[in-house]
């Protein structure tokens, strides 16, 4: 900061205390604050302001550059698209912002290739190309399965950590504090028990995974909360498994809608809670028309489909109840410090997509 004026000087009015939260009826405390939280209606919906045509323009230039650089531009293309999509998403009068860079994505992918691609390739060569005893081949096969299996939770945690830490709203960043090992345990347990119970454990697995991902997510200092239980979805899941084959797969849309409603309705942020009103019929109509659009244009109309999907998602999603934004502070450590070397290695910007 070279300027004579201190850019970080506090306001004349002291910062409000972290607690207790504002009473619901109070007006904004200082005239400087734009009216919000307690005085606005308690139902908030995100909205998307962008035009598919603009996205198509970004996309088409991306395609041209990606082709011209033999694919290297892909990472910057992805970043440009995300930045546009985030900055066109508005919630409570403010846009989101995406802070990731193409360079970070490239490094993340190289890391993933080094940590997973190279060992898997080496194991493959040992198993397929080199003359080794069968016992060694079996052992190598098991090791490569384990490496492949562990890739999923590592990628999920890495990607979520990266994306949330690069997302902000009102200048405050999101973050993810979950570690890889707890999710790995959820995966191992979930996979084994789903297998042993002929798939009936699946809803519990699904909800546990979701609970881990949501409840370790933060906006500034405020944590998201998830209170769902897998057993609540069990009956719906069994019905979906039984009915889907007899409805030519169509019933799956109703299960998906049911699942989404459940997961959102058990997600809280401070005093506020989410609500989803999505229905199976609406999901079915959305996907049927999307498929038609994509097929008819051989995929070229992808931006329109993307924007349709975003509008759809926001139409059925809302946040109810008081939103005490004054309590929320920027997270002091950014991005969150990590412990042991390997976890730190994974946790810093490991993102493939």
């Amino acid at each position: 900061m070279g300027s004579a004026v201190d850019p970080r000087s506090p306001f004349d009015s002291p910062r409000p205390p972290a607690s207790p939260p504002a009473p619901p009826s109070s007006l904004p405390r200082t005239p400087s604050r734009i009216a919000e939280s307690s005085s606005t209606p308690a139902v908030r919906q995100p909205s998307f302001r962008g035009e598919a045509g603009t996205l198509f323009g970004i996309h088409i230039v991306n395609v041209l550059f990606t082709l011209g650089t033999l694919g290297l531009y892909y990472f910057w293309a992805k970043t440009r698209t995300r930045r546009f999509l985030f900055s066109q998403t508005e919630f409570a009068g403010d846009r989101f912002a995406y802070h990731g860079t193409g360079r970070e994505l490239l490094i993340g992918t190289v890391k993933a290739l080094l940590v997973f691609g190279v060992p898997l390739l080496a194991l493959h060569v040992i198993r397929e190309r080199i003359e080794v005893p069968t016992a060694v081949k079996i052992a190598v096969g098991l090791v490569s399965s384990a490496v492949g299996f562990s890739f999923v939770p590592v990628a999920i945690v890495g990607a979520r950590r990266y994306r949330l830490s690069r997302t902000s709203w009102r200048g405050v960043r999101f973050s993810f504090h979950g570690r890889t090992w707890p999710l790995m345990k959820i995966f191992i347990r979930g996979t084994l028990l789903s297998f042993v119970t002929f798939g009936f454990y699946y809803p519990v697995f699904l909800v546990r995974r979701h609970a881990f991902l949501v409840s370790q997510s933060y906006f500034g200092t405020e944590r998201f909360d998830f209170s769902g239980q897998g057993r609540d979805l069990m009956e719906h899941f069994v019905r979906a498994v039984l009915l889907t084959p007899f409805t030519l797969g169509l019933y799956w849309f109703w299960w998906t809608a049911r699942k989404r409603r459940y997961l959102w309705e058990h997600t809280r942020f401070g005093e506020a809670r989410f609500r989803s009103t999505v229905t199976g019929g609406a999901l079915l109509r959305l996907h049927a028309l999307n498929a038609l659009i994509l097929v008819g244009t051989l995929g070229l109309a992808w931006p329109w489909v993307k924007v349709r999907n975003i509008h759809f998602a926001y139409r059925y999603l809302s946040l109810l109840g008081p939103l005490d934004l004054e309590r929320i502070q920027q997270q002091a450590q950014f991005p969150s410090a990590t412990g042991e070397a390997l976890a730190g290695f994974f946790d810093s910007g490991f993102d493939l997509a």
């Binding site: 846009r95 200048g171 498929a291 994509l294 920027q330």
Partner: protein, 378 residues
């Protein structure tokens, strides 16, 4: 031009949005949050992170990892900034250039769509044909063997000596007139009522009993055989594999990698692309097969007659454009028209195939005699 603009100010420490006034100065932005102290952001330290696309607000950041943020809704703010501090114009988006950028984007769109269409219409088929020629025959044989063992397993093959001899005669006649091929051509008749025939990679043609029984003359069978042999000689299966992979790459390049439900829609688009290539291959097998017949002096009328639609369905409906688009084969009507036109251009003297053989008996030599011809519709 006004120098004072209403804005929203975010301090980078809390999620509270403050009203602010931003004043454009020569050296930087003077930011005054309502009720707060004025601070100066030198232009060289300000980053514009949003506001380059239609509908976006102008977002300016100042500071390190958790910057202060200024959001200005009015796009004319940027115009004023460019007028007042042109030496910093590279740091900020210039709305005056939007029209030009839109033109460039339109040109890019034209280029991408044109290039993709060219790739799809000519590039991929050409690439596939070239690659197919270079694929080792041993590799194709390995692939073909698996297919033939699965569909035409030895237990299901017809071994009636008279029939085998008759088919060998037709095959010999057709191949004698054709250029040398790297494949060992074989024909298997399988005892199944399906009315179909196909060519596996590496030179094996499989004919099902149902199709054999539907032929009225050896010339008709020769027509079918010539068609299938051309699939082999033109390496259509290998080409299809290359085309499938390349069209997948093309769609991936056009759409970015799309996962989830989008992927299904894209896969369907890819299958439609595959149908088009497949229809082209069928047409090629028809015309090249007909030329093979003519070269072998086999009467082409048999082949043409074989595509005559069954009488009861012939006039039922005109094929719609969608029907054509959604089919992996050209319609019988189109095939017949193509072949008839080709024959009229190359009139030849034909000889009778298999003189002295009773074709009615021979075609029932596989499977139980008297099996209905209408077992499965074509």
């Amino acid at each position: 031009m006004p120098t004072d603009w209403p804005a929203a100010y975010l301090d980078g420490e809390t999620a509270i949005r403050h009203r602010a006034i931003v004043r454009l100065m020569r050296e930087g932005l003077e930011v005054t949050p309502a009720g707060g102290r004025t601070r100066l952001w030198p232009y060289a330290q300000v980053r514009q992170t949003q506001g380059a696309y239609a509908g976006e607000e102008v977002r300016l950041e100042h500071g390190g990892q958790m910057p202060e943020v200024l959001v200005v809704r009015d796009l004319r703010f940027l115009q004023s900034l460019h007028e007042l501090a042109p030496e910093f114009s590279r740091r900020f988006h210039n709305p005056a250039r939007r029209g030009r950028r839109l033109q460039l984007t339109a040109v890019a769109a034209g280029a991408v769509i044109g290039l993709s269409a060219m790739m799809y219409l000519w590039g991929i088929p050409l690439l596939a044909a070239q690659v197919a020629l270079r694929v080792p025959v041993a590799w194709e044989e390995q692939l073909g063997k698996g297919v033939v063992d699965h569909v035409a397993s030895p237990a299901r093959r017809c071994r009636d000596p008279q029939l085998v001899a008759a088919i060998d005669t037709i095959l010999g006649r057709l191949t004698a007139a054709a250029p040398r091929s790297p494949y060992t051509l074989r024909v298997y008749v399988v005892d199944m009522p399906i009315v179909n025939a196909f060519a596996a990679p590496s030179g094996s043609v499989v004919i099902f009993r149902g199709l054999l029984q539907r032929t009225d003359s050896p010339e008709q069978l020769a027509g079918v055989l010539a068609h299938e042999l051309q699939h082999v000689l033109q390496r259509h299966s290998t080409r299809a594999i290359v085309q499938h992979a390349s069209s997948g790459l093309l769609i991936a390049a056009l759409t970015g990698d799309v996962t989830g439900p989008l992927a299904y829609g894209l896969e369907a688009a890819r299958v439609l692309g595959h149908f088009r290539y497949s229809r082209e291959a069928e047409t090629e097998a028809d015309t090249e097969g007909l030329k093979m017949l003519l070269a072998a002096r086999v009467d082409p009328a048999g082949m043409i007659a074989f595509f005559e639609p069954p009488k009861d369905t012939a006039d039922k409906h005109e094929e719609s454009a969608a029907d054509k688009y959604l089919s992996s084969h050209p319609s019988d009507r189109d095939r017949k028209a193509t072949l008839t036109a080709l024959v009229s251009r190359h009139p030849t003297q034909s000889v009778t195939l298999l003189p002295g053989e009773n074709w009615r008996e021979l075609r029932y030599a596989c499977g139980a005699p008297g099996t209905s011809l209408q077992e499965s519709p074509r």
